[in-house]
């Protein structure tokens, strides 16, 4: 198993892919969505959000496009690539297995 930071990092990547998969969003919107969805459990500062997005982009999993935002500002919108979609499916399945296993272990009653 990987180190805890890797787990969090991997989880963040998965969350970002999932968020972008629903609709193309800009960085600010992604940040807002992340906070809405996870509350304060995942404390992701904007300072680490952008490097994570850029890493996904450089890995070819998401792509970016400059568009006008709702309030008529030019903003960079991220969307999933074909490669990213496949990655998301695989990672979602992995996550399902992993979290299922973990919750089963955690729920074990002491004999």
């Amino acid at each position: 198993m990987s180190k805890p930071e890797d787990l969090v990092q991997g989880t963040l990547d998965l969350l970002l892919l999932k968020i972008v998969a629903l609709e193309p969003l800009n960085g600010f919107a992604i940040s807002r969505r992340l906070k809405q969805v996870s509350g304060d459990v995942l404390q992701v500062s904007d300072g680490s959000l952008y490097p994570a997005l850029h890493k996904l982009q450089e890995a070819g999993l998401i792509e970016a496009e400059w568009k006008s935002s709702e309030n008529n500002r030019r903003a960079k919108y991220y969307s999933l690539t074909r490669l990213g979609r496949r990655q998301l499916e695989r990672e979602t399945a992995n996550w399902g297995r992993l979290s299922g296993a973990i919750s089963r272990v955690v729920k074990l009653k002491e004999a």
Binding site: D6, G47, L56, Q57, A59, G60, S69, R90
Partner: protein, 891 residues
């Protein structure tokens, strides 16, 4: 989780353009990044303003939320994963800039490396051409060279009868071909007669090499038989010269030595082994079966060697074992002729280049040393620079440059330097190799094909790169310290020298001196050896002696009597010519050329396989006189020693000394197996031993016969001309043509030129080694100079203070010498040790001188020390003339 294994390989399709974009549209991406983050902050700020904050407060709140903006930007840029490329490019730029800013340093370092790398490239390209490239035949590794051996003769010609037996008895060769080189006269068809070099070969030879004629067909096994019609294959040079490349040349007739031959094919001679390239035409060796083959001639080893091709999968050892068993069976079957004789199987490449591989290896070692010295020099220079730049480096380190990045920068700089030096060196080698090849063409096989090919380029590039990397690390080590603040604490002026760099530089200088000494000793030994070889008494007076080859064709001069009578008439006409003081004819070559067994009357017959051998030659009267040979006892030959007269011989002092020490050898009798077994000769004279090669390892004793009693049509005319007169050569040629208009005199050379051939290899080796030794000495000087100059500069203040406090100049001298002497003495000592360790491999190439020759070593060491001291003269003077007042004033 996103990392690694699960990502499909076609990922590259997506990411490669991204990497390229990251590299080439960096500014665009950085702008995008700024804009993206700014827009984020603006939206956030807008959000806070809507919540009721003032614009300024909202802005700061947004910034606080975001965290470290610059760090985020840096991390985003790092996400592009091309940082190292960018760093590399930056470092290269930086390296180029710093090198440009120090032109003197750059020029010296580059030239030093160029010398070292250039010399290595040149010698490597020779080795690559001569030793490493495969022979130009199909599967050349299966080709072997066959010869015979006898107890005292490691390699000798084959007898044709043995060759035929080997061919039928062996189980290891796919093909086998015998050959020998002779010369023949091509009768002039309306023009002057020409002397041709003729290759006599068996039908198996061309198939063995895998060489096909460009026209017609090679010899068939039928054409190997004695009584078939004579046929000839032309070389393409003769084809061009004689027939203007006429495609209809097949079937035409050619008269060689009076016999008509039919042209059946044309062979490209550039495909043949080097020493065959002068061959003009090929005829069948098998046709001579009756003359030189068969049982009657089993003892005759007449210039024939053979090539063979191993069957696929057969190793050299298997072939040797098979040939050994064949030799043993032949020895049982023919005990009279074959006892003790063996077969020698050598890889063809080894045979072709065998003699030069050792000298070449030695030269490669020499240039490697030169390169090491050059590298040590450059490393030393880089260390000085690194020390000077310590403060700059400390500042950069304090500003956050990591150790890896700093070392990377130094590496970039040294690699740039080394590659530039390599490129210059390559250019130098490109200019030098043709010159080298021209000088060596007669003595180094295959060198005419020399070129700077891909292997050479790879070699040079790899060497340069390795130098750049290794010698970039050295200065990095020298400046390495954990605490950069130390560098700031240094006062102005020359930086204090740390222990490590000074020590490193002294060690480098010591190593340079040691390596230079090895080269000096190597060159000194070969020079001394050459000198002694040249000093060897050849037994001849070479001044004013002209020689040329005559070849009386056997078809025209059929009997010994005819040959003898021609030579008698020729000599009687040449001797009285104006300017000729003495003249003679010697066969088969100058000094011997044929070896045979002999025994001495009154001594027990030597056992089978333990026969004694001598060099045989037949001479007309006047030959020994023309060569200026010293007569110790008895007399020279006279024309009265003719075929009817009692057989007499002249022996050399070595033979006389061996059998009749302190006795008179005149009148004693010697038996030989030629012309018939046994032939008894009475010793009529004893002369000085003759030698054409002072370095020949073991020399046979010599027996000379009167020409008339053992004549042969092929040999060398020897004419001693009077000093200070025009050469009598034109008259001599006129006389020859007056007797036989079809007889060319060829290979006309002075006796000194002829002898020079034998020392040419050694002379070239001496020239090259001397050049490399001089180069080494030249390159080692700045190394020593640098150590002392640096020490004096670094300690100027200290010396000034010492002087002010009352130290004498003598004490200062002692101070400098304390640093200088260990380097020089250590270098010389290490060098001497290295020479002694290397003496075995050095000794192989030396004659008449030991590899541990104390005079040479002492002389070389003295030269080295003198040069090293001279190199230190300027800094030493500077140290001695330091003015304490001025030094203290400057403080």
């Amino acid at each position: 989780m996103l990392k690694g294994k699960s990502i499909p390989p076609e990922r590259w399709l997506y990411t490669a353009p991204l990497r390229l974009r990251a590299l080439f549209r960096r500014r665009q991406l950085d702008q995008d990044l700024d804009e993206e983050l700014r827009s984020h902050l603006e939206e956030q700020t807008q959000g806070y303003i809507e919540l009721g904050l003032s614009a300024e407060d909202a802005h700061y709140a947004a910034l606080r939320d975001f965290g470290n903006l610059e760090l985020a930007k840096q991390n985003c840029r790092d996400a592009r994963r091309v940082l190292w490329v960018q760093n590399l490019i930056e470092d290269l730029h930086f390296g180029l800039r710093t090198l440009r800013k120090a032109p003197a340093f750059t020029a010296v370092a580059m030239l030093t490396l160029a010398l070292g790398i250039g010399a290595n490239t040149a010698i490597f390209s020779v080795i690559n051409t001569v030793l490493l490239r495969p022979l130009p035949y199909a599967q050349p590794e299966r080709l072997v060279f066959l010869s015979e051996s006898a107890p005292d003769i490691p390699v000798m010609f084959l007898s044709l009868a043995n060759f035929a037996d080997w061919q039928s008895m062996n189980t290891v060769f796919e093909n086998m071909g015998g050959y020998r080189r002779v010369s023949a006269t091509l009768a002039g068809q309306g023009s002057e007669p020409q002397r041709l070099v003729l290759g006599q070969v068996t039908s198996g030879l061309f198939p063995t090499l895998g060489v096909e004629p460009v026209l017609g067909h090679a010899f068939t096994p039928e054409e190997d038989k004695p009584d078939t019609a004579p046929v000839v294959l032309l070389s393409d040079t003769l084809w061009a010269r004689q027939f203007g490349r006429d495609p209809n040349v097949l079937g035409k007739q050619l008269r060689l030595d009076g016999t008509w031959y039919t042209v059946t094919g044309v062979i490209r001679n550039d495909l043949l082994p080097l020493y065959w390239r002068q061959i003009d035409a090929f005829t069948s060796l098998g046709r001579l079966e009756n003359a030189i083959g068969g049982e009657a001639h089993r003892t005759h080893h007449l210039g024939v060697y053979a090539y063979a091709r191993l069957k696929p999968g057969i190793t050299l050892e298997q072939a040797r074992a098979d040939m050994l068993s064949i030799s043993q069976r032949l020895a049982q079957r023919h005990p009279q002729t074959n006892a003790g004789q063996g077969a020698v199987v050598q890889p063809l490449l080894q045979k072709v280049v065998g003699e030069v591989s050792r000298p070449l290896a030695m030269l490669m070692g020499a240039v490697a040393l030169v390169l090491l010295i050059a590298c040590a020099n450059v490393a030393s220079l880089l260390i000085s620079r690194a020390i000077v730049r310590r403060r700059e480096i400390a500042i950069r380190s304090a500003l956050g440059a990591g150790t890896a990045r700093l070392v990377g920068q130094l590496l970039c700089e040294s690699t740039l330097l080394a590659l530039a030096g390599g490129a210059l060196g390559l250019l130098a080698a490109y200019c030098v190799t043709p010159v080298l090849a021209r000088r060596a063409i007669a003595i180094v096989p295959r060198i005419e094909d020399i070129s700077i090919d891909r292997s050479v380029l790879i070699f040079t590039f790899a060497v340069s790169l390795a130098i750049g990397i290794v010698f970039g690390v050295v200065p990095a080590l020298a400046i390495y310290r954990r605490n950069p603040t130390e560098a700031f604490q240094e006062t102005g002026g020359a930086p204090r020298s740390g222990f490590l760099p000074t020590c490193l530089r002294s060690m480098l200088a010591t190593a340079e001196l040691a390596m230079a000494l090895v080269l000096l000793v190597g060159a000194g030994l070969t020079i001394k050896s050459l000198f002694l070889v040249l000093q060897t008494d050849s037994g001849m007076q070479t001044n004013g002696v002209l020689t040329g080859v005559l070849n009386l064709p056997g078809t025209k001069y059929k009997t010994h009597a005819e040959v003898d009578s021609f030579m008698r008439r020729l000599m009687q006409k040449i001797a009285p010519l104006p300017g000729v003081t003495a003249a003679g004819f010697e066969t088969p070559q100058l000094i011997g050329g044929s070896q045979g067994t002999f025994r001495v009357e009154g001594r027990p017959q030597p056992q089978q396989g333990r026969e004694t051998y001598a060099e045989f030659s037949s001479l007309t009267p006047g030959t020994l006189e023309a060569l200026g040979v010293k007569l110790f006892a008895g007399r020279f030959f006279q024309w009265k020693d003719d075929a009817e007269a009692p057989r007499v011989c002249i022996i050399d002092d070595a033979l006389a000394e061996q059998y009749w020490p302190g006795e008179n050898a005149i009148g004693k009798r010697i038996a030989t197996e030629v012309p018939v077994t046994p032939t008894w000769w009475r010793v009529a004279g004893v002369v000085h031993h003759l030698t054409t090669d002072g370095a020949a390892p073991h020399q046979l004793v010599e027996i000379f016969f009167p020409y008339s009693q053992f004549p042969d049509g092929h040999g060398r005319l020897i004419i001693q001309s009077q000093q200070g007169r025009a050469s009598p050569l034109p008259e001599v040629i006129q006389v020859i043509h007056s007797l036989d208009p079809d007889l060319p005199l060829y290979d006309v050379r002075t006796l000194s030129d002829l002898m020079e051939d034998n020392v040419a290899t050694r002379r070239l080796l001496v020239v090259l080694l001397s050049v490399f030794a001089a180069l080494a000495l030249l390159l080692a000087m700045p190394g020593v100079y640098g150590v002392i100059a640096y020490m004096v500069t670094a300690r100027t203040r200290e010396i000034g203070v010492r002087l002010a406090l009352g130290a004498k100049r003598r004490d200062i001298l002692r101070l400098v010498l304390a640093q200088l002497l260990p380097v020089i003495v250590g270098g010389a000592g290490l060098g001497i040790l290295a020479c002694l360790a290397l003496r075995r491999s050095l000794g192989i190439l030396l004659f008449h001188v030991s590899a541990a020759d104390p005079w040479t070593i002492a002389g070389s060491a003295s030269l080295l020390i003198a040069v090293a001291l001279a190199a230190c003269w300027i800094p030493l003077r500077k140290a001695m003339t330091i003015d304490p007042v001025r030094v203290l004033h400057r403080e």
